[in-house]
């Protein structure tokens, strides 16, 4: 068991079937996560990051979502094959999720305390009263006074709501935390605080984490490994050092080029030309080829498979940067 990875996803394909057509949200994603490791999932809006996270918990709304194929193994068990009873034992207990928008992620008609205690009561065999005491401890752990236990979400500020959501997510000491852009909706001044809090609690509770973000700075600060996602595929995967210092994929390079830098004198930022392809109508071959500066004729002709570069660094490109 100890050899088992905390999470291993192989060849996950997820589609959304809508009235207008089939949205190819995730197209063959494979990744692995060791215990206590933090993986940064980086990509533009609509690249399929949230869909991947929600597939791990199997909480995608079906329909319209449809998990076409793939395995999501958590501690050796395939989540995709679990029945609803076993799934509920995993959700919120072994794997939990922090959502993007704290303003809407809390139920407005229940107190913060009730919402934290609910998961504890469900998973930890505790009586209501004991669950509430544990919930108060969680509140204090995320830096909120325990007297606020009986407050409702509308009495909390955005940052406090996100702290409460973190408390809900971590209440049962999960093995894996899925943080879906936990700071996007927050004030810049609060972002660092919340990230530090997540990082600190994750260390204390020995939790592995997938941090979804489009902020490369956040990744540099808090992740061990990075996966760059584009149009539902992982383009480059490796340790933070490999991806940042030995960038191989032209898309990854494009992301870095579009960031302002303090050290270099750059007259103008260099955006990646063009737009993300419509996921209902992905281009043949590599989905990035219409925007890629290094594209070759072959790029549009066949599906590109990942190339292993050694040391766990791999890239999905036939003409990578050297």
């Amino acid at each position: 068991m100890s050899e088992e990875k905390t999470l291993s996803i192989s060849d996950l394909v997820v589609e959304y079937h809508t009235d207008h057509g089939v949205v190819h949200a995730v197209n063959g994603v494979s990744l692995g996560l060791e215990a206590r490791e933090t993986l940064g999932l980086v990509g533009e809006t609509g690249a399929g990051k949230t869909t991947i996270a929600m597939s791990i918990l199997k909480i995608l709304p079906t329909p319209p979502a449809k998990i076409v194929s793939g395995e999501v193994k958590f501690e050796g068990q395939d989540i995709m094959k679990m029945d609803s009873h076993d799934l509920r034992k995993v959700r919120g207990n072994k794997i939990s999720m922090i959502f993007q928008d704290p303003m809407t992620a809390l139920n407005p008609v229940f107190t913060i305390g009730e919402q934290i205690a609910e998961g504890i009561h469900l998973h930890q065999n505790l009586k209501k009263g004991d669950a509430e005491i544990k919930a108060m401890e969680m509140l204090e752990m995320v830096g909120i006074r325990r007297e606020r236990f009986t407050d409702y979400p509308h009495q909390f500020s955005g940052g406090m709501k996100q702290r409460a959501i973190i408390a809900i997510a971590l209440a049962c000491n999960p093995k894996l935390l899925l943080a879906d852009e936990p700071t996007t909706a927050l004030d810049v001044t609060i972002q660092a605080q919340v990230l530090d809090l997540i990082g600190e609690l994750k260390e204390r509770l020995n939790t592995a984490m997938i941090l979804i973000t489009h902020d490369l700075g956040v990744v540099a600060k808090s992740c061990d490994k990075v996966a760059i996602i584009y149009a539902g595929q992982i383009f480059e995967y490796g340790t933070k050092f490999q991806v940042y210092a030995e960038t191989r994929h032209p898309y990854t390079q494009g992301l870095f080029d579009s960031l302002p830098s303090i050290n270099k004198e750059v007259p103008r930022l260099k955006p990646i030309p063009g737009l993300m392809p419509n996921p209902m109508d992905l281009p043949a071959g590599c989905p990035f080829h219409p925007r890629c500066p290094r594209a070759m004729a072959e790029c549009s002709e066949r599906a590109i498979n990942p190339t292993d570069l050694g040391d766990g660094h791999w890239v999905r490109c036939i003409n990578p940067i050297n």
């Binding site: 909480i59 609803s84 959700r91 207990n93 959502f99 928008d101 992620a105 008609v109 998961g119 959501i165």
Partner: protein
């Protein structure tokens, strides 16, 4: 909270005065001679004139209205009926409970059936069950309740002889009128509940609840329903107040001795005090129900609850 309720109760005074003025005006511009209606054709003109004088019907309109409003709002004196010569308040007391009973049975039926249908439809959106239920609901909404009442009488009373067609002498007598009244309500309540629940189950906090490992039925019955309740409560309140005032035609169809039948009779007989008294009582209970609905909102939704607390308190807690 108490301040809010007092304020709302005081607001009912101008509302009721407005209702009184409107009904009063309408009665007075309507054609017909109440004296003739009250005393009969054969009565001599002198006696009619004397009666009109006695009832104050010869005074200017505003004086009549002022006198009536003064009596009603300060002494709760609704006057005496032209046709029975008994105090209006007694006539209403004899009929109001009947109407309330029929309406309560109808509203209970409406929501016991309508709300679950709405929830099922929403949870199984676009399924065969959903489509079937919603088509039935559409049919239900489109049928006027007096017509349903007539059809029920014909089928269940006349042909099948299962249930009595008219009067109100026991539990059995409630079934047909209440069902006829409830049918439209069920359909409306089902559609309202469905859209309200659909709205809520797409919210992020429902995903949060699922991600916590909450069982699906609990996600719906606890997390979603509590949030979907506000439109449902509104609907219940509205249908109750509509029924109390608007069950008239159905009451007539089933010969139920309630407020509706009485109002229709009074209008026919040009019994001014009876028309006015009934209208004011109905208006009063409608506003009271709406007040109750607003108070229920506060019970269901803590965000509304905090609005009821004084502004001072809010300022204090925000700091």
């Amino acid at each position: 909270m108490i301040r809010y309720v007092t304020k709302r109760l005081l607001w009912m005074v101008p509302v009721l005065l407005g209702v009184t003025l409107i009904v009063f005006t309408l009665i007075h511009i309507a054609p017909g001679d109440p004296a003739e209606a009250a005393l009969g054709f054969e009565t001599s003109d002198e006696i009619k004139a004397e009666w009109r004088e006695e009832q104050g019907l010869n005074d200017p309109f505003l004086i009549q209205f002022g006198r009536y409003a003064y009596r009603v709002f300060t002494q709760l004196d609704f006057g005496t009926s032209y046709s029975t010569r008994r105090p209006i308040i007694d006539e209403i007391k004899a009929r109001f409970p009947t109407t309330v009973k029929v309406c309560l049975v109808a509203v209970t039926l409406t929501n016991l059936i309508g709300v679950p249908i709405g929830i099922i439809s929403a949870v199984k959106q676009y399924s065969f069950t959903d489509n079937l239920l919603m088509v039935l609901a559409l049919i239900g909404v489109s049928m006027p309740s007096f017509w349903v009442g007539l059809m029920f009488s014909i089928i269940f009373a006349l042909h099948l002889r299962w249930l009595p067609a008219s009067g109100l002498y026991g539990p059995k007598y409630y079934i047909l009128p209440s069902t006829a009244l409830a049918l439209v309500g069920i359909a409306m309540s089902a559609r309202m509940t469905r859209s309200s629940v659909l709205d809520v189950i797409r919210q992020d906090y429902i995903t949060t609840a699922r991600a916590k490992g909450v069982a699906e039925y609990k996600v719906i019955m606890k997390h979603a329903l509590r949030n979907a309740l506000i439109p449902i409560i509104t609907q219940i309140g509205l249908s109750l107040s509509i029924l109390i005032g608007g069950a008239m035609v159905t009451e007539v169809v089933f010969a139920i001795p309630g407020m509706g039948t009485y109002l229709v009779q009074s209008i026919r007989a040009l019994d001014y005090p009876a028309i006015l008294g009934t209208s004011i009582v109905i208006a009063f209970f409608s506003s009271a129900i709406l007040l109750l609905v607003d108070l229920l909102y506060a019970l269901v939704d803590p965000r509304i609850r905090s609005q009821f607390k004084g502004k001072k308190h809010l300022r204090g807690s925000k700091a």
